[in-house]
Symmetry: C2
């Protein structure tokens, strides 16, 4: 057995070298340090059905140090899940074996890694989901020692012990060398172990090139109840090839063909060992649980209801209907109103405390195991997890984010608490959905769609109570918008969403008093955006758009509106953006909306200015001629 | 003395209550838990000249738990730095006393806080800068226990011990209660202390309402050499008023007027104690150090040089010329090329290891003490620190960020390593500067301007080597652009920057071969953007713009271009954006540029399509009529 393991480990090293040398780039040395650990894990501990990689009964293996993926791909080859030809396609255009693991193309991995320090938090989510479903599957997360400097790692250590996740095992490949030199703690394994213990873990230091020692350590992890286990493996970067083993300057470098030949000779040549990974025992049936009828909240027209409250109400309703809906919050559930789910279904609410990075990555881990995950905090504090959100998109994950307390309209708490860049941040996420409701019924209706929406979704909510504008029966398709005011004499279109929609309606009323009509559009779907309706409005309102948003001028509502006009087929209308442009302070919401120039009064002024500009320059105050071109779609 | 301290502490509580009740909102209970610690610190330990709050000789006090600012403002009042009337203006529009501390308006504080978990990293930067300047000033950071869940805190713990910052003292106000209930660790002070010790700190648990004990603990911190000290103070939230002391449900709630009267009575009434804060001894003279002549790097026209290499070269040159230039990097200095500064001036290079959040906040702390700070990592990984970047802007800090390895053009490493949202993220930072050079000389010239530029600046660099396009003498004003190709017969303008500028030039050449002329603009200044030149180009090239960028379609170059046309005064041109729209994979740079539709061939196709669209619909292929309006500025 020991011989077979040694052969397997040597093969993983050889194949890591072969693949990276064929690619001409990659991380052989970081793969070689981990090879013995991976060999023992795959041969003796991991329970995984390669025919059904997504089965929730499988153990999970997360390679947090994603740059070491050659050793993972080599293990997949040894397990018969990929063939040698595919192994050698590493990093080539169109290959499933990318430079870092990516489930967009390779279903054998659950999540994308490569931005360091995220794997353990994902593992926390997987372990929480497995426990929730009463499955015995275990979660192994292999980490590099360099990534132990990331705070997100310690957020995950903290949460894993808080939730007593004894199914979770962290495997630290302490190979001493980072990209530019020695790590902070070098080979001081006891220092890592002491930190892990202080954070509530069972921790052991282990010789990472002693196959028996690795075996015993993994057995010890398996036998540990009530707390997660951290195994700190002392390893050598590049172990197995004397030219590079434990030497600086070999991070992220493929060997030349000559070096590769030399290394493979030193490692005893190519092999064709096959590892028989054990399948898990079949657990509870998977698949979507049965849904109860959805009873969305209803409000009366004379109520004032904050959209954040409607979020909580709808979340509660969704969790009543769907047993797979869970919520995570960063210790502000009584502000975001996710506490409504907590009260109704406490076992499906996960308090993540003030650790937003871990919260988002943990949500990704739960989503991998089929949970429909709603994650909430202040919009401003989601910025803390932008890398995790970005990587969730690379992971092809479905995750529903909600950011409350958007914009200057929160008032007295001041700019540190104001989400003013969240639309920019969330629009720039691959295939994301970005919604910004203005009333309670709209919020609820959008939530009912989000629960079935794939990808990264974002709902922006408002602190203040706002009037209920819509009937409970009104529909709000994602990708649509609502034309709330219109006439044949509209001199401009005001595009708004959320809190500014109410300012736009007030501006409409004041302009009506002066005999001036404007169109008002509620652009609740910021991404995707309703290009057709926006184009029609531009055509019918003299090519004048005023976009007003409680957000920085960059990347938000106005940029979303302009998207509708940048297909290269027709000129853009005249657009004026009213947005937050200087650092706000504390004050009453209405004072801050006015100071930012995004309240009703400023909208009125802007409409009048656009109208007067045309008059004073002699331009006809009539529908602007369109260039002949493709019809608006 | 003890009596005077007790009186002062009572006054801080009373004034925290008075201010928040007058405001009708705020955090009295979180202020009251900290009052005794603040009283002892201000009366006996802090050395601070309130006439010269920015003096580098001052000790620094960072209130990381920024929501407890009433107790800080109350201390400022006791020190005579603000008067009682100003104290009672808390949270009002226009007041310097915002809901969270903000140096935009209140110079008595160095940095903005309110997004939790950032203060200690800022303190690390202050301590590093003080040591660099050989000043004996100390740094005190007061933290809440809830924020100990933030990973960024542990990044700072790690760095502080790594750099043996014995001038740094963390004061943890362990009041047990968070916003929604008990914290993870409750009153388990030993758990916090054990974590701090495992991270290399001297740590003590202390009764936070025993003035003598606080005094002794602060003295012990002062006496500790070779490592930073963490004092874990056991306190009661709302201590001093029996109605709310140690009770749930009182986070962020002002007392009613009746409750306030009752509380103040229980606390012994209003007082007018004055605390005489000791001034520091005058240290070395401050001010800007003398600069040597700047010798920017020069390249030859036949070279290919990556802009990231030019960044390193220029950073080295700037650090030779300016003794106050420092660099921080997250363990990728041999990729970003900040290692050039490290080699030249090792004492001014700070290895921050893979902990981007701490790196950015530490940079803010160093900037407070007058350093000109250059912070670099991969563009993708700056997303990890978006909250810190956002807060740096609220802090009114000057910080120079560089993100390397932007876009799909990095090639084989795949999407986890590709900065594709960095322009969106950095444009949506208040008053930021965003630059994206395409060649080495341009990079160097822009760096020479950035070093004197206030605010948050961002330079985006490219992994690949690219041709040297410009002469060393060429000037590149921030807010400008370069028209690289132009003729009287241009049928469209291609706007590009960085890597795509080279594709645009190639497209120009191919179109010339077909007898078609296009204008090519190098939009190296993404924010601020050169509206005048863009408008002129639109007017002169038949109103057709093709914007091509190695970035997601949202928030990047195209949105920056559209800004030039949204002052509401004139109709916009026809715009087509070529950008990354689906998840890229691994591959050669040219394969990925092609797959994303942003290479020369796609630019050529797009120009031809726009031209043909006009022809086929019978639109005149001639300059488009402009609406009469305001002249382009």
């Amino acid at each position: 057995m020991a011989d077979a393991l040694a052969e397997l480990a040597a093969q993983l090293r050889v194949d890591s070298i072969r693949a990276t040398t064929a690619a001409g780039s990659g991380h052989p040395s970081s793969s070689m340090s981990a090879a013995d650990i991976v060999a023992v894990l795959f041969q003796k501990y991991l329970r995984f059905d390669f025919q059904h990689p997504k089965s929730p009964d499988n153990d999970r293996f997360v390679l947090s140090k994603g740059h070491a993926c050659p050793v993972l791909y080599a293990a997949f080859k040894a397990a018969g899940a990929i063939d040698d030809a595919e192994l050698l396609s590493l990093r080539q255009f169109g290959s499933r074996l990318q430079g870092h693991p990516n489930p967009h193309v390779l279903p054998l991995v659950d999540v994308a890694t490569g931005s360091l320090g995220q794997g353990l938090a994902i593992g926390v989510g997987m372990a929480l989901a497995s426990r929730l479903d009463q499955r015995p599957s275990r979660v192994y997360v292999m980490m590099g020692d360099s990534e132990m400097a990331e705070g997100s790692v310690w957020e995950a250590f903290d949460k894993a012990s808080h939730y007593k996740l004894d199914g979770l095992c962290a495997l630290i490949d302490m190979n001493r060398l980072g990209q530019t030199g020695e790590t902070e703690l070098g080979w001081n394994g006891e220092a890592y172990a002491a930190r892990a213990r202080a954070f509530g873990w069972h921790a052991l230091t282990v010789d990472g090139h002693d196959l028996d020692a690795i075996d015993h350590a993994l057995a010890a992890a398996l036998a540990t109840a009530g707390q997660p286990t951290c195994l700190v493996f002392k390893t050598e970067k590049g172990h197995g090839y004397s030219l590079i083993a434990n030497k600086e300057g070999w991070h992220g470098k493929a060997l030349s063909e000559d070096q590769a030949r030399d290394a493979i000779r030193e490692l005893g040549g190519e092999r064709h060992v096959r590892v028989e990974v054990r399948k898990p025992e079949a657990g509870r049936p998977g698949g979507k649980p049965a849904a109860a009828p959805l009873k969305l909240p209803r409000y009366t027209p004379d109520e004032k209801v904050a959209t954040r409250k409607a979020y909580g109400d709808a979340l509660r309703a969704l969790s009543d209907a769907h047993p797979d809906v869970v919520a995570l919050d960063a210790e502000v559930s009584n502000s975001t109103f996710s506490d409504e789910l907590r009260e109704a279904h406490p076992q499906r609410y996960f308090e993540m405390y003030i650790a937003e990075q871990n919260m988002v990555a943990t949500g990704v881990g739960m989503a991998v195991l089929g949970k429909r995950v709603f994650v909430s905090t202040f919009a401003a504090f989601l910025t803390r997890a932008y890398d995790q959100i970005r990587m969730a998109a690379v992971s092809n994950a479905t995750l529903h984010l909600c950011g409350s307390h958007a914009g200057v309209s929160i008032g007295e708490d001041g700019p540190s608490q104001m989400g003013l860049e969240d639309l920019a941040m969330m629009r720039a996420v691959c295939d994301s959905t970005v919604l910004y409701p203005c009333d309670a019924h709209q919020t609820a209706r959008l939530m009912a769609q989000l629960v079935d929406r794939p990808g990264i979704t974002y709902l922006r909510t408002t602190r203040a109570k706002t009037p209920v504008l819509y009937a409970a029966s009104e529909e709000f398709p994602i990708g649509g918008c609502k034309v709330l005011r219109r006439s044949d004499r509209d001199v401009a279109t005001v595009v708004a969403a959320g809190i500014t929609l109410h300012e736009a309606l007030e501006a409409h009323a004041r302009l009506q008093d002066q005999g001036i009509s404007v169109r008002v559009i509620d652009l609740y779907s910021v991404k995707p955006v309703d290009a057709k309706t926006l184009r029609q409005a531009a055509r019918e309102t003299q090519g004048r758009l005023v976009v007003v948003e409680d957000h920085w001028a960059e990347g938000g509502l106005a940029d979303a509106v302009l998207e509708a006009f940048t297909d290269g087929a027709e000129p853009l209308p005249t657009v004026k953006r009213l947005a937050v442009r200087k650092m706000p302070g504390s004050g009453k919401p209405e004072e801050l909306l006015s100071a930012a120039g995004i309240d009703a009064q400023h909208i009125v002024q802007e409409v009048l200015a656009m109208k007067d500009a045309s008059v004073s320059t002699g331009a006809p105050d009539a529908p602007r001629k369109r260039q002949p071109g493709k019809p608006a779609h």
